[in-house]
C-alpha cells in the first residue's frame, strides 16, 4: 500500500467538498433506502445524473456514500412500517416491525444503526485486507478466467434471485442478448440491430438501468395505488449496551456479509438472510424470533452492511460487479471513461483508497442520522406512495436523458420500465438481466472472443486452466443441483415405491 497516496486521498476527502459529498450521499441514500419502493440500486441509478459533471473520483465517493446510506436506510421502513425499504431489509422487517408494534421502534432503529455501522466498518477493513490478495489473483486472470468469472456471477445471481432457477437463467440470457446489440467489441460487426440506426451503439446502460429499477416501480405503484397510508408509532430510545453484549454476533455476521459481497452476483439481499439465519442458529432465545428479536436485527443488518464494501472487491480487481448496485456504479464509471479490470488498480490505486475512506466515513454519517434524525425520517415515510412515484418518474426521465443528452434514451428508459414491470408481474428476476446487460459485452463477449483468438480457435483452454476449472465446476455444480439432482431424487423415490 502506498501510504503517501492514502494520506493524499484522506486529505482530499477531508476537504469541504469531500465531507459535503459524503454527507449528501448518505442523506440521499438513507432517504431513498427508507422510502418504500425505492431500492438502493434505484437510488444510485437516479443519482447518476448528478455525477456527470464531477471528477470520476468524486463521483464514486458520492455513489459509495449513497450505497452505504441506502443499505442502512432500508432498515428504517422495514422496522417501523413493515415495508422493507430495500429488498436487503426483508429479514430486518421480520423482527423490527414486531418491536415497533410493542412500542420499541426507537430501540429497533438504534440497534439497526449500530449494527449497520459495525457491519460497514468491518466490511471496510476486510476490503482493505482482501484487496491485495484479490489483485494478485486478478493478475493471474486471462480472458478465459475473466469470461468464466463473469458467467459465474450471472449464473449465481440467477440462482439466488428468489425466483425459480430457469426464470433466472432466462432473464440472464435475455440480458446477454441485449448486451450483444450494436457493434461487436472486437471486429465492429453489426449485431441484432434490426435495422434501427440508434441500436448501432448498443443499448445505453444508464437509461436501461433507470428504466428497469425506477420506472418499473412507478408503473407497479400506480397500479396498486389504493394502498392505505400507514401510521407511524413512537417508542423509547437508545441501545448501545445491547450491541456490546452481541458484539461477536455482529462481527461474525459482518464477515459473512463481506464474503457474500465478494462473490459476484449475490449482494446484500442474500447477505441479510444469511446473517439473520446465523443469529437465529446461535441464539439462546429462539422463541423471540418472529415476535421481535433484537439479535435478529443485529445479524441481518451487520451482514447486509458488511456486504456493501465486499461488492467492491470483484468490481475493482476484475471489473465484475459484486451485485446490482455495483453493476450500476460500473455503468456510471464507464460513462466517466473509467473501466475497472485486472490492471486498473495498479495504475489507479487512489480509487480503492477513496472508496475505503468514503465508506468508512459514510458509516459515521448514517450512524449519526439513524440515531438522531431517525424519527424525522420516519415521518417522511408517511408521504403517499403515488406522490413519491410521480417524483421518481420525473427523475427517471432526467436520468434517462442526461447520460448522453439524447431524447431516444428516454424512450429506451420507458421501454425498459415496461419490461421491468412485466418481469415483476411474471416473477422473472430483474437482477440477472441487469448484471448480464452490464457484463455481457466487454467482460463476457469480448473476453470470450479474445480467449478464442489467443487459443487459435480452441475451446480447450476454457476448461484446462486451473482457475477456469474451479469456476466451471462451480457453475456445473449449481446447474446439477437445480436440474439434475431433483430428477435423480425423483427416480430414486419412484424405484423405491
Amino acid at each position: 500500500m502506498d501510504f503517501s497516496l492514502i494520506l493524499e486521498c484522506a486529505r482530499n476527502i477531508f476537504s469541504f467538498q469531500g465531507i459535503g459529498l459524503i454527507i449528501l450521499g448518505v442523506s440521499i441514500g438513507v432517504l431513498g433506502g427508507a422510502l418504500p419502493g425505492i431500492s438502493t440500486t434505484m437510488t444510485v441509478a437516479l443519482l447518476a445524473t448528478a455525477t456527470y459533471s464531477m471528477e470520476p473520483l468524486w463521483a464514486i465517493t458520492l455513489l459509495c456514500a449513497t450505497q452505504a446510506g441506502a443499505t442502512y436506510g432500508g432498515s428504517i421502513a422495514a422496522s417501523v412500517l413493515n415495508i422493507p425499504g430495500t429488498p436487503a431489509s426483508a429479514a430486518t422487517a421480520r423482527e423490527g416491525y414486531p418491536l415497533s408494534q410493542q412500542g420499541r421502534a426507537n430501540e429497533a432503529l438504534s440497534v439497526n444503526a449500530l449494527s449497520s455501522f459495525v457491519g460497514n466498518t468491518i466490511g471496510v477493513f476486510a476490503l482493505a485486507i482482501v484487496m491485495p490478495i484479490m489483485l494478485n489473483l486478478a493478475m493471474k486472470f486471462g480472458p478465459w478466467e475473466l469470461f468464466w468469472f463473469a458467467m459465474f456471477g450471472v449464473v449465481i445471481c440467477a440462482k439466488l434471485s428468489r425466483a425459480n432457477f430457469i426464470k433466472g437463467l432466462l432473464a440472464a440470457c435475455f440480458g446477454l442478448m441485449l448486451a450483444f446489440i450494436g457493434l461487436d467489441p472486437i471486429a465492429g460487426t453489426q449485431r441484432l440491430t434490426f435495422g434501427i440506426s440508434y441500436l448501432r451503439n448498443g443499448i445505453a446502460l444508464v437509461p436501461a438501468m433507470v428504466g428497469l429499477y425506477g420506472m418499473s416501480e412507478v408503473f407497479t405503484s400506480l397500479i396498486d395505488y389504493e394502498a392505505k397510508p400507514i401510521e407511524v408509532k413512537k417508542g423509547k430510545l437508545f441501545e448501545i449496551g445491547f450491541l456490546w453484549k452481541h458484539k461477536w454476533l455482529s462481527i461474525r455476521s459482518a464477515i459473512m456479509g463481506f464474503i457474500i459481497g465478494v462473490v459476484p452476483g449475490i449482494g446484500a439481499n442474500i447477505a441479510s438472510w444469511v446473517g439473520y439465519d446465523h443469529a437465529y442458529s446461535c441464539s439462546k432465545e429462539k422463541e423471540l424470533y418472529g415476535k421481535g428479536s433484537l439479535e435478529g436485527l443485529v445479524g441481518s443488518e451487520s451482514a447486509n452492511n458488511g456486504c456493501v464494501p465486499g461488492a467492491y472487491a470483484p468490481l475493482l480487481s476484475l471489473g465484475v460487479p459484486g451485485d446490482a448496485v455495483t453493476a450500476v456504479i460500473l455503468g456510471i464509471l464507464t460513462i466517466h471513461g473509467v473501466q475497472p479490470g485486472p490492471t486498473f488498480l495498479s495504475k489507479n490505486p487512489q480509487y480503492l483508497y477513496n472508496i475505503l475512506i468514503a465508506l468508512f466515513l459514510a458509516g459515521f454519517v448514517f450512524l449519526f442520522i439513524g440515531t438522531f434524525i431517525g424519527r424525522g425520517i420516519v415521518r417522511i415515510l408517511s408521504i403517499p406512495l403515488p406522490a413519491i412515484m410521480s417524483v421518481v418518474a420525473i427523475l427517471c426521465a432526467i436520468g434517462g436523458f442526461s447520460a448522453y443528452n439524447r431524447i431516444q434514451d428516454v424512450y429506451v428508459m420507458f421501454i425498459f420500465g415496461i419490461l421491468g414491470m412485466i418481469m415483476k408481474k411474471l416473477d422473472f428476476p430483474i437482477a440477472p438481466l441487469l448484471l448480464s446487460l452490464v457484463v455481457g459485452g466487454e467482460l463476457g463477449d469480448a473476453n470470450f472472443r479474445r480467449a478464442l483468438l489467443a487459443g487459435k480457435g480452441s475451446f480447450l483452454p476454457f476448461i484446462t486452466r486451473p482457475i477456469s476449472i474451479v469456476l466451471v465446476i462451480a457453475i456445473l455444480y449449481m446447474i446439477f443441483i437445480e436440474f439434475v439432482w431433483p430428477v435423480i431424487k425423483r427416480s430414486r423415490q419412484s424405484s423405491k415405491e
Binding site: 426464470k167 442478448m177 450483444f180 472486437i186 403517499p384 420525473i394 436523458f401 428516454v410 424512450y411 463477449d445
Partner: protein, 160 residues
C-alpha cells in the same frame, strides 16, 4: 374463464419460447466477415447464448405444461380475453398511458418542466385524495422550481 396461475405460467412460457426463437433467427443472420472464420467471428457467442436460451425456454415450456395440464386453444383464447378485460390490465394500461403521455408528448416535445408540473399535479390530484388540492399544487410549484434550479442551472441538463 380466467387463467389459473399454472395456465398463466404456460402461456408465459410460450411467449418466452417465441422470443427465444426470434433471437435465435436474428443471431443466425449476423454476418461473418470475409477474413474471419466462424469460431472467431462476432456470431459465435450470441449463437451459443441464443441456443442456451432456446433450450431453457423449451425446458420452461415442458415444465409449466406438466404443471398446468392440457391447455387448448379455446382455453387460451377465453383466458386471454378475460385477462385483457380484467381491472389489473386496465390499471396497468392507465399507468403506462399516463407516463407515456408525459414522456412522448411532454418530454419529447421539448416542454420538460411544464409537462413535469402537469404530470405531477395530475398524479397528486388523482391518486392522493387525502391531501387538499391547494397543498398539492403548492408542492408541485415548489418541487418543479427546485428541479429547474438543481438540474438545469446546477447540473446543466438541457431539458427544457
Amino acid at each position: 374463464m380466467n387463467f389459473s396461475k399454472e395456465d398463466r405460467e404456460s402461456v408465459t412460457s410460450l411467449v418466452v419460447l417465441v422470443i427465444s426463437i426470434v433471437f435465435f433467427i436474428a443471431t443466425m443472420q449476423i454476418p461473418i466477415k470475409n477474413n474471419e472464420n466462424f469460431m472467431q467471428s462476432a456470431k459465435i457467442f450470441p449463437l451459443i447464448i441464443s441456443c442456451i436460451m432456446l433450450a431453457l425456454s423449451l425446458i420452461y415450456v415442458i415444465s409449466s405444461f406438466r404443471k398446468s395440464g392440457k391447455l387448448g386453444l379455446e382455453k387460451i383464447k377465453n383466458g386471454t380475453i378475460s385477462f385483457l378485460k380484467s381491472s389489473e390490465v386496465r390499471r396497468t394500461a392507465l399507468s403506462v398511458l399516463l407516463v407515456g403521455i408525459f414522456i412522448f408528448l411532454g418530454v419529447a416535445k421539448g416542454r420538460f418542466y411544464i409537462s413535469c408540473a402537469i404530470f405531477m399535479a395530475f398524479i397528486l390530484l388523482m391518486y392522493v385524495r387525502r391531501v387538499k388540492p391547494w397543498i398539492s399544487i403548492l408542492a408541485v410549484i415548489v418541487f418543479i422550481t427546485a428541479l429547474y434550479f438543481i438540474f438545469h442551472k446546477l447540473f446543466m441538463v438541457q431539458l427544457i
